[in-house]
């Protein structure tokens, strides 16, 4: 065994070029897989720093659509009445402003948690203490926070005396009671909060919006710990008994309510499907790349084994057993696997560091830390050894089998290649797999292209935005409104600015506010059938600045203020889906203008004064969604986003001007969503970008690996058959005839590989339809581009060997040694 190992090392050192090529190939394959697995590990497998994670479950609410959030009153009832959980905790996310000194406000993301949260999870403090039930009793009575480990490191300089220090949160005094353990950052895997606040402080955290007592406001995520010995099904049944009670007790809000349980960490069932699906696709793609790399390695080893046939034949003739020889050759491939796997792991570490350094262009802390933990190490090792076996076994088996005499005789006969060489078939398979990856990435690139040119209901070019929330900085409603007005006027007066307006939050920015709509005259629709609309607050001039078309009626103006009649503008989807009006020429019948609706039986009616075109609000792939717009001063909320458009100035300059205008009014204000309007679409494009980026990278990697595979196959064919080439030339064959006879079969195989690749791509395209925007699975340009790329790569890979074949000197190749 040890002797085999030493021999393997000696062989590898004797052929540095071969060893290097093999190690690099394997490093690419293993690196890609380890990097993907590192990410998948972080969002799926990583332990969350809690006790017995297998006992934890997320609760989803099903009333029509399934959502992961519940109302706080329902939470209290579920918590107190259930007998299936050892504990049930609630949490939700919110952006807050924090300052350690005067005026130095920072916006950061927090978790609001129920008092029992940490105890239910069994999370441990790193410093000080975490919350207990006693920290969440009296509304507004517990100004305490727990820092996440990362926040403590980044914002408090890892100060060990941080406990009991005071900070300002949204302008109020809070005391730090502890720091959570490093591996704990809440109960959602792709959200990394910086601090934790008791739920009882909700009104200070979300100023002007108190929902703790509203049974219709679904804002709280729930996580429960199963009692020992209970199955998920039993627990679900137990919870639904309570749900039915609640539905009877509160029909207005809870009618038809059902609860489902899913593993925690990915917003209940909400992100679970997409995240698992995409992770699966990525692992599959990475696996294919590894397979391609293995094919290359098998090809290299096979070529070498053929060259070593004489040595092997001599060994066999001397009485070595086949098993022994296979073992010796496997030892060689395993040694290679370990070297390549190690390099791959380094590559993965580098990629992970790169990803961590690259903050996604979105306004949320969605990236979990990417660490190469033992699970990743084990995965990489397993993948390497598996690869080593895969690419080692076939050549070893083939080289040691078969008839001895021809190898020993080695007459002037040219080597008989057989009809199809195993290696050539592998290369064809490799080309086929590359076609699949390339078509996949081309489809994603095309959808991204399409998404970028999609009509989102506003024109993101030549505009910039800056958002802030005055209530987080101690402003009351009146002073806040005055501040917004001053900023807006200042911006509008700036030279070069064509128009400016305010919207509470940008569409496509994850801040989704869906409300039930009660249309006047049809208010008794049951909850499960009641329509919803996404709601915005805007200043006059917003549609003009956005370049959103006003289809009927009027825009808001300055007379639409807190004291005037309540009005609203709705989009076309609202008109057709909710009011059931039809478009007739330039107007609608029945006419929606003047009709009234409201967001709850207790709230005032809003009269429709205008209709705008339908845009995209939650995601680029959504079906038309009803949306409503209310005047800024007629609706609650204190967050505003200033939008300014200029056709003469660069939009980055406009963004800077907005920042300056706000700072001049109040330098202490912390901004969110600052930048060009186009950059703010980052979140909406994020999934498409990630998919196009990763698939594109893998497609590229695949094509590089496949090209080297094709090159290896062709170069080896030419080298091995140079004598045959010489004979053919002596018989009068010209360059092209030689190339055809020597490389023709290889080219035929490649063609076969491409054909199989196309067939597989068609299947994959069908599976991908959910990920594609506005692009057919059978997209002509995507296929053409992929095939052109693979064709060019294959042609380039064949070029050098073909020239070498045409330039074989028959004098040299025919010389009899």
């Amino acid at each position: 065994m040890l002797q085999d190992f030493r021999f393997a090392i000696r062989l590898l050192r004797k052929n540095p070029a071969f060893t290097l090529a093999a190690a690099i190939t394997l490093a690419l394959g293993i690196g890609a897989n380890s990097a993907v697995f590192t990410a998948v590990n972080a969002v799926i497998f990583r332990p969350m720093g809690v006790d017995h994670p297998e006992q934890l479950l997320s609760l989803n609410l099903k009333q029509g659509n399934e959502v992961p959030t519940h109302s706080y009153p329902d939470y209290r009832d579920l918590r107190d009445r259930n007998d299936v959980f050892a504990g049930l905790a609630g949490y939700t996310f919110e952006g807050i402003s924090m300052s350690q000194g005067a005026g130095n406000n920072k916006l950061l993301w927090s978790y609001m948690v129920t008092g029992n949260y940490f105890d239910v999870l069994g999370a441990k403090p790193y410093l000080g203490r975490l919350f207990h039930s006693g920290d969440d009793v009296k509304k507004g009575g517990h100004p305490v926070i727990v820092l996440s480990y990362i926040c403590w490191q980044n914002r408090f300089g890892a100060d060990r005396h941080v406990v009991d220090r005071h900070v300002k949160v949204n302008g109020f005094d809070y005391t730090i009671v502890g720091v959570a353990a490093p591996e704990f950052y809440g109960t959602e895997r792709i959200y990394t909060p910086e601090l934790f606040v008791p739920m009882a402080m909700q009104e200070q955290i979300e100023i002007g919006d108190s929902w703790l007592e509203q049974r219709g406001s679904h804002s709280t995520f729930l996580i429960g710990r199963l009692k020992p010995g209970l199955t998920r099904e039993r627990a679900e049944a137990g919870l639904n008994v309570i749900a039915q009670q609640l539905a009877r007790e509160y029909p207005e809000t809870d009618a038809g309510m059902k609860i489902t349980l899913t593993p925690p960490g990915l917003a209940g069932s909400y992100l679970r499907g997409p995240v698992l699906g995409f992770s699966g696709v990525l692992m599959l793609v990475a696996g294919i790349v590894l397979l391609i790399a293995c094919v290359n390695l098998a090809g290299l080893l096979l070529a070498r084994a053929t060259d070593r046939r004489r040595e092997i034949a001599v060994r066999l003739a001397l009485g070595a057993s086949r098993g022994r020889l296979v073992r010796q050759m496997l030892m060689e491939s395993m040694t290679l696997a370990i070297v390549g796997g190690g390099a791959g792991l380094l590559l993965a570490k580098w990629i992970a560091d790169l990803l961590v350094a690259w903050r996604p262009p979105i306004n949320l802390p969605v990236f979990p830390p990417l660490t190469l933990d033992t699970r990743v190490l084990l995965f990489s090792m397993g993948a390497s050894l598996f690869a080593g076996l895969l690419f080692g076994l076939v050549p070893a088996w083939q080289a040691t089998g078969g008839d001895l005499t021809p190898a020993l005789k080695n007459m002037g006969l040219t080597m008989r290649a057989g009809r199809f060489h195993a290696r050539d078939l592998l290369v064809a398979a490799q080309v086929g797999l590359s076609v699949v990856l390339l078509v996949g990435s081309m489809l994603m690139v095309r959808s991204l292209q399409h998404a970028l040119s999609l009509n989102v209901g506003f024109d993101p070019r030549h505009a910039a935005v800056a958002g802030f929330d005055s209530s987080l900085h101690g402003y009351d409603n009146v002073r806040g409104a005055a501040l917004e007005k001053r900023v807006l006027e200042k911006v509008r007066a700036m030279p070069g600015i064509d128009s400016a307006a305010i919207i509470n939050d940008l569409p496509l920015n994850l801040h989704i506010q869906n409300s039930y709509v009660y249309v006047e005259g049809s208010e008794n629709v049951p909850v499960s059938k009641r329509p919803t609309a996404t709601g915005y607050r805007t200043s006059p001039g917003l549609f003009d600045t956005f370049k959103t078309r006003l289809l009927a009626g009027r825009d808001f103006d300055d007379r639409d203020n807190a004291d005037s009649k309540r009005v609203a503008i709705v989009n076309e989807a609202f008109v057709t889906h909710i009011l059931h009006s039809k478009r007739v020429g330039n107007s609608y019948a029945p006419d929606p203008i003047g009709r009234r609706f409201r967001f709850g039986t207790g709230s005032p009616f809003l009269e429709i004064v205008g209709i705008v075109e339908t845009g995209k609000y939650q995601s680029l792939s959504e079906a038309p969604l009803p949306a409503t717009f209310q005047p800024l001063r007629q609706a609650v909320g204190s967050d505003v986003t200033i939008v300014a458009r200029s056709n003469s100035l660069p939009d980055t300059e406009v963004a800077a001007m907005l920042k300056r205008a706000i700072a001049e009014e109040d330098p202490s204000i912390a901004l969110f969503a600052s930048g060009t309007l186009e950059s703010q679409l980052g979140l909406a494009l994020f999934p498409a970008r990630i998919a196009a980026g990763t698939l594109g990278a893998f497609g590229l990697l695949a094509i590089v690996l496949a090209s080297t595979g094709v090159y290896g196959m062709m170069a080896y064919t030419v080298a091995r058959r140079s004598r045959e080439i010489g004979i053919r030339m002596a018989l009068g064959a010209r360059g092209p005839q030689v190339i055809r006879s020597i490389l023709g079969r290889g080219a035929m195989l490649l063609g076969g590989g491409v054909a199989i690749g196309i067939a597989l791509s068609l299947v994959m395209g069908r599976l991908m339809t959910a990920m594609l925007y506005g692009v057919q699975a059978l997209d002509g340009p995507a296929y053409t581009a992929a095939l052109a790329l693979i064709g060019a790569a294959a042609a380039a890979a064949c070029w050098v060997p073909a020239r070498r074949a045409a330039r074989v000197d028959p004098m040299v190749s025919l010389r009899w040694e």
Binding site: A417, R734, Q737, L814
Partner: protein, 238 residues
């Protein structure tokens, strides 16, 4: 020599110098040579004296470093690669010491190869291949692969391949070198038979037994022709 004998090829002052690692090897120096149609010439000499090099230049596998080479009256020393390939294909038939059949092709396909490169239609090819294989007595083995034949049989197939295109001249480089004496004898007899049928043959051999069958033997030493012996003198020398 009768007045009708026609000079098939002529070399005037042909020289071949190989340059390897800055070492100059003078493989051939000042070769003057004429071969007439229908002649059977043998080239003899010790190993390394330049026999194969001479044959390669005769067969347009290689070109001389200096001097003039006329094939059928046309100078061929400066032709381009395509022209040389065309002439090799139509005017030259090679027989190698190592047989040099293509292992992946059947006997039939091997023999067919020169005709394929010529672009001859399939039916015509088939007929010509059949004829050539019959002449060498291998017509019963068309579907075999070279590895399934004995060395002597392989060389007979190689002879068939050389003559299938009806070349001006057959060039054989130690055709018996890889064969036992009995098989070697048979191949020589085959060549003699072809010669009697009118073929022009130039054969390299260092085996006295075989060179005596030739009309003329050219002795090479160190890249130079040291003497030429006509068959009559040869037999008288015995």
């Amino acid at each position: 020599m009768s007045a009708e004998t026609q000079t098939l090829l002529r070399m005037n002052g042909v020289t071949k110098v190989f340059l390897t690692d800055e070492v100059e090897t003078h493989a051939l120096s000042g070769i003057h040579l004429e071969i007439n149609a229908g002649e059977y010439v043998s080239i003899a000499g010790p190993s390394g004296c330049g026999k194969s090099t001479l044959l390669s230049i005769l067969g347009l596998l290689d070109s001389p470093s200096d001097g003039e080479y006329l094939l059928n009256g046309n100078p061929v020393q400066d032709l381009d690669l395509g022209e040389r390939a065309r002439i090799r294909n139509r005017e030259i038939g090679f027989i190698f010491q190592a047989f040099n059949l293509i292992g992946d092709l059947t006997v039939f396909e091997n023999v067919e190869l020169p005709l394929t490169y010529r672009g001859m239609p399939g039916a015509e090819r088939k007929k010509a291949v059949q004829e050539a294989l019959e002449r060498v007595g291998m017509a019963h083995r068309v579907k075999h692969y070279p590895s399934q034949l004995s060395g002597g049989q392989q060389q007979r197939v190689a002879v068939a391949r050389a003559l299938v295109g009806k070349p001006l001249i057959l060039l054989a480089d130690e055709p018996t070198g890889n064969l036992d004496s009995q098989n070697g004898e048979q191949v020589i007899e085959l060549l003699q038979e072809l010669h009697r049928g009118g073929a022009t043959i130039c054969m390299v051999t260092h085996d006295q037994r075989y060179s005596k069958h030739a009309d003329r033997t050219i002795n090479l030493f160190d890249g130079r022709i040291v003497d030429e012996v006509e068959a009559a003198q040869q037999s008288s020398a015995h």
